[in-house]
């Protein structure tokens, strides 16, 4: 631990405080890891990258929640044949994101609201990270289920998790280019809607969905996600 020198003991022509501050800046600085550096480069924002990798209340929760939901959903699907994972996993993830970032939940919410980096951008980045993680788990489950002779995990992974990740990535890319999270949300939701409708129109040939009975629930889900995102990141207008 550094011991700060006494300012009064320094010769009058020595800026001891300035020297100390410069040394402290180097000693205290936190070197970003490879993941944070990569995220900062991709997102063109060190602040967003830091918000992603040091998310105070989410980092461990993402992994635990994703594993728990996917494992429980896969078990239920195997028993009943109903794709609970496809319907529930992204919903839990999206709701988890929304409710982990908002007034009354984020302890520094009021301060965050006054930051230049939009809280909706932070939300989009976190959403992409969660869905990408879910897709990675899905791919692992697919590999395992192929070995076991089951195609359930593959259907869920390629029919739902990967498309959802792609939609989040699309939304984030649009938001990054437009420097507006609202643009990203609109583009992402439009992309998701078009993909689902196109999947229904081509009788399951589009990879988003293979069961046309799920189109309406999926559209409802997409709308719910958008509502949750907007609700969790809204600026109160005279009613709160």
């Amino acid at each position: 631990m550094m011991q700060r020198p006494g300012w009064d003991t320094a010769p009058p022509d020595v800026d001891l405080r300035g020297v100390w501050t410069a040394v402290a800046a180097q000693v205290w600085r936190r070197r970003p890891g490879p993941a944070e550096r990569l995220a900062a480069r991709l997102l063109r924002s060190p602040g967003l990258a830091r918000a992603l990798v040091t998310t105070p209340s989410l980092l461990l929760g993402w992994v635990i929640a994703s594993v728990a939901v996917l494992a429980a959903g896969a078990a239920a699907t195997l028993e009943t044949g109903t794709p609970y994972v496809a319907l529930l996993a992204p919903a839990f993830a999206a709701a988890g994101i929304a409710y982990a970032y908002g007034p009354g939940i984020d302890p520094a919410w009021d301060l965050s609201q006054s930051m230049a980096v939009s809280h909706r951008m932070v939300l989009l980045v976190r959403a992409l990270a969660v869905f990408a993680l879910n897709a990675a788990f899905g791919l692992a489950a697919t590999a395992a289920s192929v070995l076991a002779g089951s195609g359930t995990a593959a259907a869920v992974t390629f029919g739902w998790l990967i498309p959802m990740t792609a939609v989040c990535a699309l939304a984030l890319a649009a938001a990054t280019l437009a420097r507006s999270a609202n643009v990203g949300v609109v583009v992402g939701m439009a992309g998701w809607g078009i993909a689902v409708l196109a999947g229904g129109a081509t009788a399951g040939r589009f990879p988003v969905l293979t069961d046309s009975a799920l189109i309406l629930p999926c559209l409802a889900f997409a709308a719910c996600c958008a509502l949750i995102a907007f609700y969790a990141t809204r600026s109160p207008r005279g009613t709160s």
């Binding site: 631990m1 700060r4 410069a22 402290a24 602040g47 520094a108 301060l111 109160p236």
Partner: protein, 149 residues
């Protein structure tokens, strides 16, 4: 002019928290005094771009905070210490100040020096790696240092 306000109002449902405030302020130090419920916090939150006004005209640093681009520029230069500042218990004093410096879009190369200066200015240089959890006042002082509102 740093702050230009004309006819600013803010309603919360049926309650009118701020009723037609007119105010102009340039550089300097100002205090806002009033009894409980007078609307001081709501007015400050509007001036911090956290709360949009219900009606009226608000300009900060010669910009319109109602539009995304100007609001972002305002927020880069604005310092704001909320009335109820929460902390991330897993963050140290330095990490907390650094996190919000990055969210404020301060150039990454300038962040370490700015953080060290802010922590030093708040006289927290002897405990920079201390967690925010047991000493919330430390983080409060640290984040308050760069304020310029």
């Amino acid at each position: 002019m740093n702050i230009e306000i004309a006819g600013l109002t803010r309603r919360f449902g049926r309650n009118q928290a701020v009723a037609g405030v007119d105010l102009e302020a340039g550089p300097g130090v100002f205090g806002l005094l009033g009894p409980n419920g007078a609307g001081k916090t709501s007015l400050l939150r509007m001036m911090a771009t956290v709360l949009p006004p219900s009606s009226g005209r608000l300009r900060l640093l010669d910009r319109d905070p109602g539009r995304y681009g100007p609001r972002r520029e305002i927020r880069r230069r604005l310092g704001y210490l909320p009335q109820n500042l929460g902390y991330y218990p897993s963050f140290t004093v330095v990490e907390f100040v650094e996190y919000f410096a990055l969210l404020k879009e301060m150039p990454a190369a300038r962040v370490p020096a700015a953080v060290a200066a802010a922590v030093e200015r708040a006289d927290l240089g002897t405990k920079p790696k201390r967690s925010c959890a047991p000493c919330p006042a430390a983080c409060s002082a640290g984040s308050a240092s760069p304020r310029r509102s």
